[in-house]
Amino acid sequence: MSDEYDNNKSYKAQSSEVMDGSTGSINPDIDYVRPAEVGEQDLYHGHSFIEKWVFCQDAKVIGVQYFLTAVFTGIVGLILSWLMRLQLGFPELAGFMTAEHYYQFVTMHGMIMVVYFLTALFLGGFGNYLIPLMVGARDMVFPYVNMLSFWMFFVAVAVLMASFFVPGGPTGAGWTLYPPQTILEGTPGSGMGILLMLISLSLFVIGFTMGGLNYMITILQARTRGMTLMRMPLTVWGIFTATVLAMLAFPALLVSAIMMTLDKVLQTSFFMPTILKAGEVLEYGGGSPILFQHLFWFFGHPEVYIVALPAFGIVSDLISVHARKNIFGYRMMVWAIVGIGGLSFFVWAHHMYVSGMNPWFGFFFATTTLIIAVPTAMKVYNWILTLWRGNIRINTVMLWCLGFIVTFVNGGITGIFLGNVSVDVPLSDTYFVIAHFHMVMGIAPLMVIMGAVYHWFPLVAGKMLHEGLGKWHFWITFLGAYSIYFPMHYLGFIGVPRRYFEMYDSPYMTSAVGMNEFISIAAFIVGAAQFILVFNIIKTLKTGKKAEQNPWKANSLEWYTSTVPPEHGNFGERLPVVHRWPYDFSVPGAKDDFIPQTTAPSEVIHTEVEKT
């Protein structure tokens, strides 16, 4: 903040306090940073193998644990999608699959990918690893609670996976779990399957709350000296805002899960209307299925941004570093993230246009939905303007970032289609919707995850991932993903409904059959291409070349740790002192094309660097 600097100048008289030793400054006045407000964090170092690697309190280990668990569930989700595509493209080869199986795969694929893969990976994985390092903290503020958070997540995943093996199998109600059909006989997995799903979701929410409190308080109250809010990397801003959303949106999921569990176990009728089954009136009556939809989407829509905002933040940092240029409109980017987060709580019913509601209600939600396009478009322009005349390095990380921008714009534009009631009603529940949300919250964030893995792997493992393999991985995934989802827009326009097990002799089948086969083949290839990354990681860990410290010449604090990979406590004897934002790239007059956040102003006084 520029105000900060003005404040600092008034401290001139106290310049004797400046001698923090970390800068070796020539001109103490302009290098002044306020003394520490909070004492050193009391860290508990594990002693045994169990304390160091299993029930570990180090946020970095917890981050890797989250990452690996999420990737494991993600691979399960990937295999489920293969099975679905096999049925859709080549039903004659999928004779082992019944319609019930198909619905179960659809449901589990959706729930796994949205909640247990993307959310856990971004917030649990990247959040845990990067937040303390980027804000200059020794660890999360409540390491023990943080450890519990991961193990709660682990149990949630175990319960979810257990539902594959119970009588009746996992629930097949669709990932939205709409009552009344979810818990009624006839829906696959309406016995133990749905119960385990609801228990697993509740555990996930409890576990996430523990982690979320850590992320928020670490960012708000445990930043290092000089790290003002407006000097934080956008990654931290994205993860922070997403965590706020999660803390306020997950309660609705928890409540709806509890109420549905009671509907299932105790025959209450929270969501269950009077139901006639084979001429008999069931014991349910008087409940409101629409209430569930409101609760679910009050969680469900912010959930989209819980996945998207960390991706926005991370990709901003990656683009800036690999284009060697400061992020264009940093403050605008911050406020756009916060604005999108705030707006995301007022748009939920755009998922319910076909559920039947007052037209004015639809009008309101269409308006708020389209308003979200404004801050989102600002972000896209700023990414492009960051690239504009930058010293772009076309490496694997940059390729993933460019892939993200293109894919995100694509998915965003179809979102504007679907945000309008009159366009949404005919397109609802068709493949157009599938194409839209996979582009915008599936493929686009996934591209950021991939870019982030290639970017931060040298920090986590101390070795450089193989670039050639990385480029193969990118191009197959990028082109393949477009081969999968572009044709789906067309399928949606000709009216192919989603969630159908097979099409029989529908009139549109003639053109849809060939397209479905093509999409399926592309899906198999793209899925298989992800194992290039697994192979790359294993190969790199065994024989990869050692990474130098800060291989990308980045400015943010995670690259300036005492050791690589960082040890418990992150920064050795002294915490770093921050003097600038992390985006001082290619500053005219500077020795290198980057100025680390820890560089004191007096060291770069001859350059054209601006105060941040």
Partner: protein, 236 residues
């Protein structure tokens, strides 16, 4: 507005001052303990949980096809053959609000390092909470005895029992968790763990009397939620 100093940080007046204070380095909330900030944010999240419950209750009660039971009859106690509406609830509420008072005093004596007084007051709070839970058990068993079940009741809409048991149960669960922690902290205060800087059993962290205040925040929140539940279930 006078300028205020918190731990060496000068807070500046006005909106611009607030913006530069909150946006400054290290901490956003100056002088606020990590655990205290955590509890506030947890309570914000928990507020959303209870709001979702209560909004669902309003929606459920508003859209039932059968009439809602007459709550002033269902919840009344018979004293000498005369029904007294709200009697039990009044006592329960009184006990819980009183326990909030003892909790606040415990925080005060904690910060004054008056270990004995602090310990007794936390114990009193715990006993108050336990009494509340006990009376809730009595109320539940009375209603169950009269035939109220989560899936139906003889007085009207079946959702009455569903929402009543779910929401008061969820609140009672919060109170019970609080009571357990109150007993644990009674022990910790009487044993002098904050003076001896003994490390926690699980967290391996050293404690401080601020923990009593954090526990107090939770306890006051649970009381506040009860006021809303009281209004929505018993007065509506």
């Amino acid at each position: 507005m006078s300028e205020q100093k918190i731990d060496g940080f000068e807070l500046k007046p006005g909106f611009k001052g607030m913006a530069s204070d909150t946006g400054s380095d290290q901490t956003m909330f100056k002088g606020v303990h990590w655990g205290k900030a955590m509890m506030w944010i947890f309570l914000l999240s928990d507020t959303f949980v209870f709001s979702c419950f209560l909004i669902s209750y309003m929606k459920g009660r508003g859209s039932t096809i059968v009439d809602w039971p007459n709550t002033s009859e269902v919840f009344s106690l018979y004293v000498g053959g005369v029904p007294v509406p709200l009697l039990l609830i009044a006592i329960m509420t009184f006990v819980l609000i009183t326990s909030s008072g003892t909790m606040a005093l415990a925080v005060k004596y904690g910060y004054e390092k008056n270990r004995k007084m602090c310990g007794w007051l936390i114990l009193a709070t715990a006993v108050g909470g336990l009494t509340f839970v006990g009376m809730q058990v009595f109320e539940w068993s009375k209603l169950i005895h009269e035939g109220v079940r989560p899936w139906g009741n003889p007085f009207g809409a079946s959702q009455f029992g569903s929402f009543f048991f779910m929401i008061t149960g969820f609140h009672g669960f919060h109170v019970s968790i609080g009571v357990i922690f109150l007993f644990i902290y009674t022990y910790k205060v009487f044993a002098g763990h904050y003076e001896s800087k003994k490390r926690g059993w699980f967290t391996k962290m050293k404690g401080d009397y601020v923990e009593i205040e954090i526990l107090g925040l939770y306890w006051h929140f649970v009381d506040l939620v009860w006021v809303f539940i009281f209004a929505f279930f018993y007065l509506w």
